[in-house]
Symmetry: C2
Subunit: 190 residues, 2 copies
Amino acid sequence: MKVSKEQAEQNRKALLEAASRLYREHGFDGVGVAQIAREAGLTHGSLYGHFQSKDHYAAEACAHAFVKGVELLGQVEAGDDAALAGFFQHYLSEAHRDAVSDGCPIAALATDAARKDGPVGETMTRGIETYVELFTERFAKDENVRERAMTTLSMLVGGLILSRASAASNAALSQQLLTSVLQALGAPRA
Amino acid sequence: MKVSKEQAEQNRKALLEAASRLYREHGFDGVGVAQIAREAGLTHGSLYGHFQSKDHYAAEACAHAFVKGVELLGQVEAGDDAALAGFFQHYLSEAHRDAVSDGCPIAALATDAARKDGPVGETMTRGIETYVELFTERFAKDENVRERAMTTLSMLVGGLILSRASAASNAALSQQLLTSVLQALGAPRA
DNA sequence: TGTACATCAGTGAACGCGCGTTCACTGATGTAC
DNA sequence: TGTACATCAGTGAACGCGCGTTCACTGATGTAC
């Protein structure tokens, strides 16, 4: 049955929120639209009133997943090295490692996104470029800021991915990966 | 019908080779056993004579995917900085970026492996530890070699993943990611 | 403000399809004599 | 070396299941009068 416009908008947001969490946790191919809609309190049929296809849905869910992290990094003032170190510490924390469904969409979905062509890949690429720009703005100015931003993002994402992959089978290795990268980025141990 | 033992062993290898390529390219959830068996010139039923389940099959395919890279890095003599730089150059080349199905299984499958518990996750973890050890052995000895090995692997894997994710939508960004990480690792541009 | 009705968000059955796995069967291999 | 036959690697139909997507239908919303 029809619902109010406010309710419909709220339902759309619930669909995106559920998808952004479940896709990060299980990958784009690891969870079906029916299960996501159920998690959002709706039925799968309703999805196609809001989104053109699973691919477009996944792309919007991916964009939604970027909001939180970009906001967090955006709050760091340019030149505030302590605040930036705090961001690194959070990114490379066990808490972030263990909370895939609420964490960085690059670490969770970049490999998946690289396999798709279409809206998902474009959204991921825009997200990566956004992070590179945010780091560039926040680093002390020198001739290689953008390069440094790229290597920093590579270390963060790479370190988190490796730490997650080894967490279940080798807790010590997983932990060492986090602290090694954190130290290399010049931040003290948490 | 029955085949000779030699042929059976050859078929098993063909199944692993096809799986290691197709899983790297499409992910563990992105391709079915029937398609892989077809690629290997067999039917899907034959799989279960060689492997216990898809998960065990995937784990062996993953282990198979590690062989080439580990061999390549193993050929680098300890202390031979030029040879090590050559390895970095290859790892961060456009050729490696564009050849996922023949490339590093960590960059291709670590995120997928982190989502599975069971033999696949264990194989991936062992592969990561192997790479860390190989780098550790090949770096000039100082008190933080293992930490340096971990940050190096994080940068390589992270940089390659980001470069692949952005390749289709932003070729310039994808290229800059490779060269930035390569320079940060102290290797000259190719 | 009250009533009649067009709109349309959401429902759930149905579609064709591919998934992982099983198993009765086939027929070449390779062993026993 | 030649023959009879047990072994077993590989085949392909079949299983139940979940996938993405469509669509006739429902019934509350919100508009026109």
